[in-house]
Amino acid sequence: MESQFRRGILDACVLAVLEQGESYGYQMVKDINEFITITESTLYPILKRLENAKMLTVFTQEHNGRLRKYYRITDAGRDHITELMKEWEEVVRVFQYISREREQRHE
């Protein structure tokens, strides 16, 4: 998958996971991996980028005697998902157009 495209999708996936409730790194990797492959080294810069863009906030909470970082989506993050969904509709239209063209060519 083209890297820029994949990056956009992964940003949306992280935000979508957080929209369901606050979460932590390992859980997010597990949740997102059900749909698209993601590793820790891919997730880390995404979380940093989204945090810098104020689309999520980070807080630390004690868990089983150790500290764990949790991530929570902000209103800016929710708005970003809405924008992405609008853009996605356009992508789907282009995809359908390409599929139709290819089908017609192969017929």
Binding site: S41, Y44, R68
Partner: protein, 202 residues
Amino acid sequence: MSKKEYLDQLRQSLVENEIPNADQMTEFYAEMIDDRMEDGMTEEQAVSTMEPVDSVVSQARMDMPITDLVTARVKESHKKAKEKGNGALWMILAIIGFPVWFPLLTAGFVVLLAVFVVLWAVVISLFAVEFSLGIAAAACLVAGFAVLFGWIPVAASLASWGCALILAGLCLLLWKPLCGLGMAVIRLIRLTFRKIKGAFAR
């Protein structure tokens, strides 16, 4: 490999490669290992399912600004030379060779900048063509109405409206291909930038 060994290796590698916030990043990976162990894995299993340190560092380098990558590359080269006992030679060559490498580096930068400017100019001119076709079509349409005031003959007015139709048709016809071409050029610019960055991140 134990958790401590993995994290020590990771931290050292991140610091050596001048990745910012090495400690924060190491903490993130420590948390990942702890969560795996909490999920039922042994320490060894948890570490073995982690990404190799080289892969983590290479990914982190890709997220660094290109200027930092170049600086890191130069420092790395100096460090390697120092390890081989050629640190002073590296420094002398860098100073003596300055009249050669600096103009070459500047020329390389200027060439790259020129390529980017040319590519952006292509994108802008494509849209300028589209815009001018639209404006010309509107102008011809308006000009055709001059017949109502007797400023131009009917034939000239009809010719003007005909031109307006042709130009508007061209404008509509070229809209999608020009947009596609513009997007392709933008993608090419992004790809080129990532390739250049990738060369320093390796």
